[in-house]
């Protein structure tokens, strides 16, 4: 059974607020830096301005609400940075896609095996690590190629960066 694309629907849903700029060419995906380098910014969607006005009022109601808005702004910016970093690094594996996915699969298997015989205090960490490589392979297989996976992650990072100003900065 085909694994569904886990990122595309999120990118699509966010597009009513902020749309990736430029659009992804899935047939020949652009490098992640197209979206992560800062040379282009996401395009405001039809709902961006109304949402910004509404959220500006909402998070200005009290100091507590302003603090929450600041935290969301910082959180979005931080997550966008991490996703951009992951996108750029996944992009470096494009030329060795088959080997890389095999390596991720092997790492997932052996970390899962180690987890079975490791002291119980370490099993959570090994499970997380095994899950990370499993997730990487799921994303790649769901999107069809490493190039598309890297590009869609880069698009998402650009959107999150652009969405952060919806919430007041500290």
């Amino acid at each position: 059974m085909a694994v569904p694309d886990p990122i595309g629907p999120v990118v699509q849903a966010l597009s009513v607020l902020v749309a990736p700029n430029p659009a992804l060419n899935t047939g020949s995906p652009q490098p992640p830096s197209t979206w992560t380098s800062g040379s282009s910014t996401a395009t405001d969607g039809t709902l961006f301005t109304p949402a910004q006005a509404l959220l500006g009022v909402l998070f200005g109601l009290s100091s507590d609400m302003t603090s929450v808005g600041n935290a969301i702004n910082g959180g979005l910016t931080g997550v966008a940075t991490v996703i951009a970093g992951i996108a750029n690094q996944i992009g470096t594996l494009t030329s060795i896609e088959t080997e890389a996915t095999s390596a991720f699969d092997a790492l997932k298997t052996v970390l899962g095996l180690a987890q079975a015989v490791a002291p119980s205090s370490t099993t959570g960490v090994l499970q997380s690590a095994s899950g990370l490589f499993d997730q990487l392979n799921s994303v790649i297989s769901g999107l069809g190629s490493i190039g598309v996976a890297a590009a869609e992650l880069a698009e998402l990072s650009q959107q999150l960066t652009a969405a952060a100003p919806l919430f007041p900065a500290a």
Partner: protein
Amino acid sequence: MADPIGDAIQALNILVVPTADGSGSPTMTALFGNIQTFTTAIFGISSDMQKVSADIKTALTDAATVVGKIGTSIGSAGSLTDVAGAMTALQSSLSLLQTIAPAGTAAVFNSASGLFQAIQSQLTALAGDAGKTIADAATELAQLAQLLTALEGLFP
């Protein structure tokens, strides 16, 4: 029956190849360097990711130590079936203790019981694999410990 340890070692050969007896240093492939560059960058993205990486490295060290000691220990035992039987007995006894022990110690017994159950499961799989002896099991465990140690290099 499948040999899960041998299969895992085989799968990892694209990254790192163990020595024949599991001692000394394994051979890293070129792909290991590519993946190392990738994971080093990924886990260097933020301080949280660096902590996760450090925790994984520690967990791999602990797992390699346990696997290596099991390999050394079973090498001097009688047969795979004997060892698996002993593990089953230990697991059953600890499970029983867990049900009647004070609540504070139940978690420890549960953890130990789970460990013996996991080891027994792996050894039973090896014993069921045609031609596998206790020497094969000891070698495979030594190789797995060697590979787990090598994989620490993927996590900064």
